[in-house]
């Protein structure tokens, strides 16, 4: 099973784990990216995520499909959130499941690294002093 989506509602990592669960798998790997309270020494109060929606959804699915091929047979679900997130909110959730731990962990790692490399999603950090800046520009 493969599923990838951009979402605007909070990500429920527990639900993602349940979604990939299967008696054929002996290893489940979970990655949850969350909003941190500091970046480069500046206190952060939240992050606004935006995306080129059509392209980002397609790239997410393509990455999940690549992982499923590379680490087959891999069960995988990935959700990336857009909108205004508060400290501690989950921005990205990735869950992979495989018969064995190696491919489960490597597949999960592949997905997060590829998301960071090529999915057209942007974040603007909001700082405690009220200013906002695009990240990575």
């Amino acid at each position: 099973m493969i599923r990838a989506a951009l979402v605007s509602e909070p990500i429920d990592v527990g639900a993602l784990i349940a979604e990939v669960a299967d008696v054929s798998t002996g290893a489940t790997a979970v990655f949850a990216g969350t909003v941190r309270d500091v970046n480069d020494g500046r206190p952060v109060s939240g992050i606004e995520y935006s995306a080129y929606t059509a392209m980002a959804a397609r790239e997410l699915l393509r990455i999940a499909q690549e992982a499923a091929r590379e680490f087959a047979p891999l069960r995988i679900v990935v959700e990336h959130r857009v909108g205004s997130l508060e400290l501690g909110d989950v921005s990205v959730g990735i869950v992979t499941a495989h018969a064995h731990r190696g491919p489960a962990i490597d597949g999960m790692r592949f997905v997060i690294e590829e998301i960071k490399r090529r999915v057209p999603i942007w974040k603007r950090e909001c700082y405690a002093d009220g200013t906002r800046e695009w990240v990575g520009v």
Binding site: Y52, R58, S91, V92, W122, R124, V137
Partner: protein, 80 residues
């Protein structure tokens, strides 16, 4: 021909809008779009060779455009 160029994030801020319609000569390429936009952007607000997508796929600068194509300038991505 006319193409729509989508602008996101820091690029939308640089241009003060989220899309722009460009009129191009037949046979124009992605490089022509970037050249034309560079003249419209305020000083050095656009990097020299930004990533570009055509119809929601990453595209090289030599790709030829067709009327009605959706071109997007992709600022440095920051997902995760």
């Amino acid at each position: 021909m006319t193409v729509t160029v989508l602008l996101f994030a820091s690029f939308a801020d640089a241009f003060g809008r989220s899309s722009v319609e460009l009129t191009l000569d037949a046979g124009a390429t992605v490089a022509d779009v970037v050249d034309q936009l560079s003249t419209l952007a305020p000083d050095d607000r656009l990097p020299p060779r930004p990533l570009v997508a055509v119809n929601a796929e990453y595209a090289g600068y030599d790709v030829r455009l067709n009327s009605g194509d959706e071109v997007a300038l992709i600022p440095p991505v920051a997902g995760g």
